[in-house]
């Protein structure tokens, strides 16, 4: 009898191990979306019984979905607002913030450009069209060619929020579809200025300090660099079960490496 019970327990344990599964729904920030997508793909590959559904919609949608109970993880490229916390608490939801990476946006110019620094104020003036010649910011003169990302880009959204205080880029800025494209065009255009994720800065372009702070992994991680921000995934309280397993994976060295491959600054 004892052997039968032990056998049944072993079979039960084996079944649980083999067929352990579950599902996770993730919604929110388009900036965090690439991290969520790539980490969930690898996580599902490693855990075939677990199904993860990832959708964008923006930070507000992610947090609203968490509050409404329609997702397990709400992605946000900003901290939750006081109003949202109050609404969550009223709904019995306890938003728990997880920093999953840092976003650092480097300002780049052509290597021949004599500019070695720029203030955040001048940067805003350049990208919104108030300044259009390099001589107005201490350069040797010449028309400034502004490179920007298309408005669907998370990097564009981040730059607009961090550098332009919500203003849009000038209407004659040249829009590029990727970070690589911005870096590539800037490297070939002497009068150009653009912005890319820190991971896309190469020797072909010159990254210039903003407000005297260089864009490096260290200054982004310390929050010193003005164009940096933490990226969040929010759960309802401390995560449990498959959600915890997934969050642990995102924060692991492997997960953070995947985040860096998407152009973000990992925390490991």
């Amino acid at each position: 009898m004892k052997k039968i019970l032990l056998s049944l327990m072993a079979v039960s344990l084996f079944t649980n191990m083999v067929f352990a599964g579950g599902s996770i729904t993730i919604a929110g920030s388009t900036t965090v979306l690439p991290i969520a997508q790539v980490t969930s793909e690898v996580f599902m590959d490693n855990n075939p019984g677990i199904d993860i559904s990832v959708r964008g919609g923006g930070s507000s949608v992610g947090i609203a979905s968490l509050i409404a109970g329609t997702c397990d993880i709400g992605d946000a490229s900003r901290a939750i607002k006081d109003k949202e916390i109050a609404k969550a608490v009223d709904n019995g939801i306890q938003p728990k913030a997880h920093v999953v990476a840092m976003d650092g946006i480097a300002v780049i110019v052509h290597p021949s450009n004599g500019i070695n620094k720029i203030s955040k104020k001048d940067l805003k003036s350049i990208f919104t069209g108030k300044i259009s010649d390099w001589s107005q910011v201490g350069g040797s003169g010449g028309k400034i060619v502004v490179m920007s990302r298309d408005s669907a880009s998370g990097t564009y959204e981040a730059f607009m929020g961090l550098a332009l205080d919500g203003s849009k880029t000038r209407s004659d800025s040249l829009l590029q579809a990727s970070n690589q494209a911005v870096a590539s065009v800037v490297s070939r255009t002497p009068g150009a200025i653009g912005y890319v994720g820190l991971g896309y800065v190469t020797s072909q372009v010159k990254s210039i300090p903003v407000n005297g702070i260089e864009c490096t992994k260290a200054t982004v991680l310390s929050g010193e660099y003005p164009l940096s921000r933490p990226l969040f995934m929010y759960t309802n309280g401390e995560p449990e079960g498959v959600v915890k397993e997934y969050m642990d994976f995102v924060k692991s060295a492997e997960g953070q490496k995947l985040a860096e491959e998407q152009g973000f600054v990992g925390l490991k």
Binding site: A64, V89, G266
Partner: protein
């Protein structure tokens, strides 16, 4: 293992310290000493700060009483210069408005909201004109209500409630934004998929009369918020008012400057069981951060003429004006028939708040500094039913507002 132990001790120490500034210093010190890496420091500081914000909202920080943690105080002070031009009559006034508002909760799901404001008994105005030899100005109870939100998606307010908390408004065609209604108000919302359904159900008491026939109104206002394609969002609602005892209500028109409804012997001739609909269509990824079209429509089935009201408008610029350099423009056109709605409730600045009002309004708001805005609000109003001899009623308001 050593690092884990150091981190564990550090975390224990961290949570025993109340002041966020001290936590910052400690983390910075440990980072400089090489005990923790910059990435860990960033993680700890950010997540601790976010945890504490949530704990504060729940009243669960160990270091402060819960009612202090959940108490919110805010308000604003507005300086206004306004110039009215009625053709044969001009008036210039300098006015101030001060509002202090708060919210407190000691039990999760229950809270009290209150607001004090300058002004008199006029429900549509919190202004105090600078006059009368430096007289002291009155501060009134603007609103005070209890709220319950313990059930998912449901909020019930009772007491004297800001109108914007009781009714989903798209403009001030029917309701001046300064009004605080009185009674019971329930709001429910549900978010299945990408849709949001919501509904307001209100029972509002307009007055007390000795014969027991208190003028009151019931409003049922269901609505929906839906995404349209990738770049547009529509909020739409309909509403039905059911009034009783409103024949006792015209006294309010006299006290708040309104007139326009058809009266006989000091009583309303028509009932005001109006049907309304309103919408806001917002676009994203356009040139401005905010581009929205909005509108309101009201129809009163009782009278046969002058019984509808319409308002259409556009707003563009920044979504909110709260920082230096931000701006927003709102332009609208209203046309409110004499008996479309009760004349003591619409925007008090549109032809002194009367019904039988038509004309455009343009509002420009500019951020002077953080939480300080300058605004110009210009009305060009006349009567909705144009007749010979009608007086125009133009109004220009220049506002400087400090928020805190």
């Amino acid at each position: 293992m050593k690092r884990i132990s150091v981190l564990s001790i550090f975390m224990m120490l961290l949570f025993s310290i109340a002041q966020a500034g001290e936590i910052d210093k400690l983390v910075q010190h440990l980072m400089k000493e090489g005990v923790i890496k910059p990435a860990d420091a960033q993680l700890i500081l950010t997540e601790t700060k976010e945890d504490n914000r949530v704990k504060m909202a729940q009243g669960e920080l160990d270091t402060l009483p819960s009612w202090i943690q959940t108490m919110k105080i805010g308000g604003d002070l507005r300086f206004r210069y306004q110039n009215e031009d009625k053709g044969t009559y001009r008036r210039e006034r300098t006015r101030i408005r001060f509002r202090l508002k708060g919210e407190a909760s000691s039990v999760q799901g229950w809270k009290v909201g209150w607001g004090l404001a300058t002004g008199g008994e006029d429900p549509r105005s919190t202004n105090q004109t600078l006059d009368a030899g430096f007289e002291t100005k009155r501060l009134m109870l603007d609103y005070a209500y209890g709220a319950y939100s313990g059930l998912k998606g449901l909020t019930v307010n009772m007491g004297k409630i800001p109108v914007k908390s009781a009714i989903t408004l798209y403009s001030d065609l029917m309701w001046d934004g300064d009004i605080a209604v009185e009674g019971l108000s329930a709001y429910y919302e549900s978010n299945p998929g990408n849709l949001q359904f919501f509904a307001n159900v209100d029972y509002l008491i307009m007055d007390y009369v000795d014969n027991g026939n208190d003028p009151s109104m019931v409003l049922v206002q269901p609505g929906v918020v839906a995404k349209i394609g990738e770049n547009a969002k529509l909020k739409l609602s309909v509403g039905q008012y059911a009034l009783s005892g409103e024949e006792n209500a015209p006294i309010f028109a006299a006290s708040s400057g309104g007139s326009g409804n058809t009266l006989s012997g000091g009583k309303y001739v028509y009932s005001y069981n109006c049907m309304t609909t309103g919408f806001k269509l917002s676009f994203s990824n356009l040139h401005f951060e905010e581009v929205s079209l909005f509108g309101d429509y009201v129809s009163n089935p009782d009278p046969s003429e002058a019984n509808t009201g319409t308002l259409f408008g556009i707003v563009f610029g920044n979504k909110k004006v709260s920082s230096s350099g931000q701006w927003q423009v709102k332009a609208l056109q209203r046309n409110l028939g004499a008996d479309a709605w009760m004349d003591w409730l619409p925007d008090s600045d549109a032809r002194s708040g009367k019904t039988d009002t038509a004309g455009p309004e343009v509002i420009f708001t500019y951020g002077v500094a953080k939480n300080i805005t300058f605004g110009i609000d210009y009305y060009i109003n006349g009567e909705a039913e144009e007749e010979a001899g009608d007086e125009k009623h133009d109004l220009a308001q220049f506002d400087l507002i400090y928020k805190f």
